[in-house]
């Protein structure tokens, strides 16, 4: 899909500028475009530094191609920018290293993160990649809360954890993918065994 044909997703309809504000355009790895306010971008240290370094003017923002974020898909990026727009202008917390971490999840964030667990892990990954401290705090807290009162089997389902057997199978598959000849040799060996041959060579 070309950039011109990509769907444009306005993250915050209510936040359409009354006064002249700069709205940056970002593009996910599945070519979805997002318009995000300058103030909202400040929640992400990575994006904030990026746009500062680019030094775009209002005309540049409209005329130049959208800034590509290669590692994050549109569904996840939409959640990230919704969060940034809602929390724009808020102070960015400083990690004081306290344990256990006391984090409260606001109502908006709780609703935003009411998603399937796979998407939640993608959201956390994106928050870490874009260095959005508070989003990372609340999403990690949400994941930690999911462990409450769970048995190992339940936790495996909740955290989408592979079992030891699945890990072993994945490891074997990865090894075979690296060396396709290994599989052929193994099959040949099995075949010869079935035929009663004692020696492979």
């Amino acid at each position: 899909m070309s950039v011109e044909n990509a769907p444009v997703v306005d993250v915050d309809e209510a936040a359409i500028p009354v006064e002249k504000k700069m709205y940056y355009r970002f593009e996910s790895n599945d070519k979805k475009e997002f318009r995000v306010s300058e103030l909202a971008i400040q929640q992400s240290e990575t994006l904030n530094r990026l746009v500062e370094a680019m030094g775009y003017t209002s005309e540049d923002v409209e005329n130049k191609p959208a800034i590509a974020i290669e590692n994050i898909d549109g569904k996840t990026l939409k959640l990230v920018f919704q969060w940034c727009e809602h929390h724009k202008g808020e102070a960015i917390p400083v990690d004081d290293g306290s344990v256990p971490k006391i984090v409260e999840i606001p109502e908006f964030d709780a609703k935003l993160m009411d998603i399937d667990n796979g998407l939640l892990f993608k959201l956390i990954w994106a928050a870490d990649y874009l260095n959005i401290v508070q989003l990372l705090n609340v999403s990690c807290k949400k994941v930690a809360n999911m462990a409450q009162g769970k048995t190992p089997a339940q936790l495996r389902r909740v955290y989408l954890l592979p079992s030891d057997e699945e890990d072993e199978a994945a490891k074997r598959a990865a090894q075979e993918a690296q060396d396709p000849r290994a599989r052929e040799v193994e099959e040949e060996f099995e075949e010869r065994k079935r035929q009663g041959g004692n020696s492979f060579f």
């Binding site: 796979g118 870490d128 769970k150 955290y159 954890l161 592979p162």
Partner: protein, 289 residues
């Protein structure tokens, strides 16, 4: 790309771990080999672990406590169904787990009777929390022969008879800390193993305090008694002066009167000069090393 908990960056794992309780942290380690490695890798703050063992009928209750809170972690059951599907492995130990519907925070584990799950669990948890030898065992029963070697700190919660205690402390003599919560009124104490423990706390003692005082052979002790006489202290001091190679370093005697201690009052009644004369050069001022 498919994302699960294990694919998250390590710094994110650390953030999540900082929000988990020790119980959740332990249960995560039981999910798979990879989660165990991940959990163990994390250097968390030093924890004082307490393991609470209680046996009722055929059940052993195993609770893990940390940071002054007690999280009931597992219930061990001695019967084991070999055809079960939910199998849990801790070292060589194979167990089955299932959750209670009414106690969702408890993991219910079955194990082979002929194995020693407590010892394996103790090793596993001390390994997990990087606290070797730092686990305090809270025991309601002394029938824990499988863990004797592991026990270095013990709190005996229920009243046990003299022979049981003698047997228990004969089997694991190198205790770092021993506490007996329930009072006992034994009179034949002279060579009892309990009085040879290095650091001893005895609570709710019955009137034979003097026997405990004169026969104690450890280094530090706290004796909490129902009744306490000035005579006991004087007798202790007399005997102490005569002793050779006495390891005693500190001793606190506490009398429980509606929660208050009478020991301060009694010690105030003993004139310092008189005390100095009595104990000679073995006098130590209050709170001295």
């Amino acid at each position: 790309m498919f994302k699960n908990f294990l694919t998250l960056p390590l710094l994110v794992h650390l953030k999540i771990f900082s929000c988990l309780s020790p119980t959740e942290y332990s249960i995560l380690s039981l999910c798979s080999r990879r989660t165990k490695i991940l959990v163990k890798w994390r250097k968390r703050e030093r924890l004082e672990l307490k393991i609470h063992v209680e046996t009722r009928n055929k059940f052993s209750f195993f609770a893990l406590g940390a940071d002054n809170t007690e999280h009931k972690l597992m219930v061990l059951e001695r019967d084991f169904e070999p055809n079960c599907t939910s199998v849990l492995r801790l070292g060589d130990l194979v167990m089955k787990y299932q959750s209670y519907t009414d106690q969702s925070e408890t993991v219910h584990i079955k194990y082979h009777y002929n194995l020693n799950p407590l010892e394996n669990l103790a090793e596993s948890f001390s390994d997990l929390f990087h606290t070797p030898g730092n686990i305090t065992w809270k025991l309601e029963t002394l029938d824990v022969s499988g863990v004797l070697k592991s026990i270095k700190k013990s709190i005996i919660l229920r009243k046990n008879n003299c022979e049981e205690l003698e047997k228990f402390y004969s089997s694991c003599p190198d205790q770092e800390f021993t506490m007996i919560e329930e009072g006992w009124n034994l009179w034949t104490l002279e060579h009892h193993k309990i009085l040879q423990q290095k650091n001893l706390v005895l609570k709710k003692l019955r009137p034979n305090l003097l026997s405990f005082l004169v026969n104690f052979r450890g280094e530090n002790a706290v004796f909490e008694c129902v009744h306490f006489e000035d005579l006991h202290v004087k007798e202790l001091l007399k005997q102490w002066i005569l002793k050779r190679d006495d390891p005693l370093r500190s001793l606190i005697i506490k009398q429980q009167i509606r929660g208050a201690s009478r020991v301060d009052y009694i010690l105030e009644g003993v004139k310092h000069l008189e005390l100095k004369k009595m104990v000679g050069n073995r006098f130590y001022s209050y709170e001295s090393e």
